[in-house]
Symmetry: C2
Subunit: 229 residues, 2 copies
């Protein structure tokens, strides 16, 4: 209804969302101060507290019904993504909102929800590395890039990669200067004390520990009722 005036950038929230997947992008866009017409909006089935996959409750601002046709739609990842792909109302919203959205994206394993909505067949998609197989079960081609643009789809690798993808989007929607401003404001100048992580490295112990803790693998299309979890 308000689409002519405001271009909403919608972030879908579900139980077990990883807050970093959501908050990294929101922080970039906050700092962007795009002003009219862009506005970030967190949407869910209902406006009530939703548990994240950390000890912090999150509260959306709008329901799916409130925002049927966002300008852009993003699905964050999280330990709950394996359940989210079986949530009919959520997947249905993602499918219908994506049909008219000009930009559709995900962070981490939020890509599985896009896959469950039937949006990723044949596309190159970035995602959390631990979910590459589950993603390919939806017909997507997993890419190891930090983020990938394929048509109107902008997908990011795990959690923190959402920040990089959103800096890129900020530059595209407004300017490189705006992206640099956001980055300076949020001091996104990482100095990880143990250097860069490398999922392709041969530290089998690290990789195995993460894979063992991974959220239940998503059911591939048609796999609802498979009995997992």
């Amino acid at each position: 209804m308000t689409r002519e005036r405001t271009k909403s950038i919608a972030f879908v929230l579900y139980p077990g969302t990883s807050p970093l997947d959501l908050v990294g992008p929101l922080t970039v866009l906050r700092d962007l101060k795009l002003g009219t017409p862009y506005r970030s909006v967190v949407v869910s089935a209902r406006v009530k507290e939703i548990a994240s996959d950390t000890p912090l409750g999150l509260v959306p601002a709008r329901t799916f019904e409130d925002l049927p046709r966002p300008f852009a739609l993003f699905v964050p990842g999280g330990a709950g993504a394996g359940e989210a792909v079986r949530d009919g109302a959520l997947v249905s919203y993602v499918r219908t909102a994506a049909a008219t959205a000009e930009i559709v994206g995900s962070v981490g394993n939020g890509s599985l929800v896009l896959g469950a909505a039937g949006l990723l067949a044949g596309r190159r998609v970035a995602a959390h590395w631990a979910y590459a197989d589950a993603l390919e079960a939806y017909g997507a081609r997993y890419a190891t890039d930090r983020w990938v643009e394929d048509g109107k789809f902008l997908t990011a690798a795990g959690s923190a990669a959402g920040i990089d993808a959103m800096l890129h989007l900020t530059a595209r929607l407004r300017s490189a200067s705006a992206a640099r401003l956001a980055q300076l404001w949020m001091e996104y100048d990482p100095q990880p004390p143990f250097g860069r992580p490398d999922p392709s490295d041969r530290d089998a112990g690290l990789r195995g520990a993460i894979l063992a803790r991974r959220a239940p693998a998503a059911a591939p299309a048609g796999g609802i009722g498979h009995g997992a979890t």
Copy 2:
């Protein structure tokens, strides 16, 4: 009461908290899976939704009264920090909890709340670069480091720096391997599309734009009622 069994790492939540300052550390600690005895807990004056400085509501798990003696205490930054330093209940909690905590820290301009509690006089402190002057009004010595340890105080630069500081803490409390696991899981392998930000650079336009948007400067000790904001 439960301190003998559980070592709580408390994060203080107040209106206008920057969610990244809080969620970055929570994500590192989630992935740490410290297990017993460490537990992250988000605390505030009341257990109810609190507005962040993005379009996302946050819900703490416990009240200040519930957790009088946490093992560690951290104060995130945010646009609301300038108000938080005038919140008597909050500052009083920080002061008393810090007295018995083994680790006390902050992210971004959360350091101002530590300053308002009288904890930083003479200490070297990292903080968001835009608040260096406000911090020094509390007697602290601002450091440009990504994070600083001075005695039991562990302070981080702006927002995203909380991740780096918490990776360091993870290594200290458990192991470098645990920190690397957290980093790989959250894909903290930044590839900012416009390179590193540099607050010391000579791009006066960027610096000026941020300083103009800065939250109201905190009142120095004794300045409550100064009428600012």
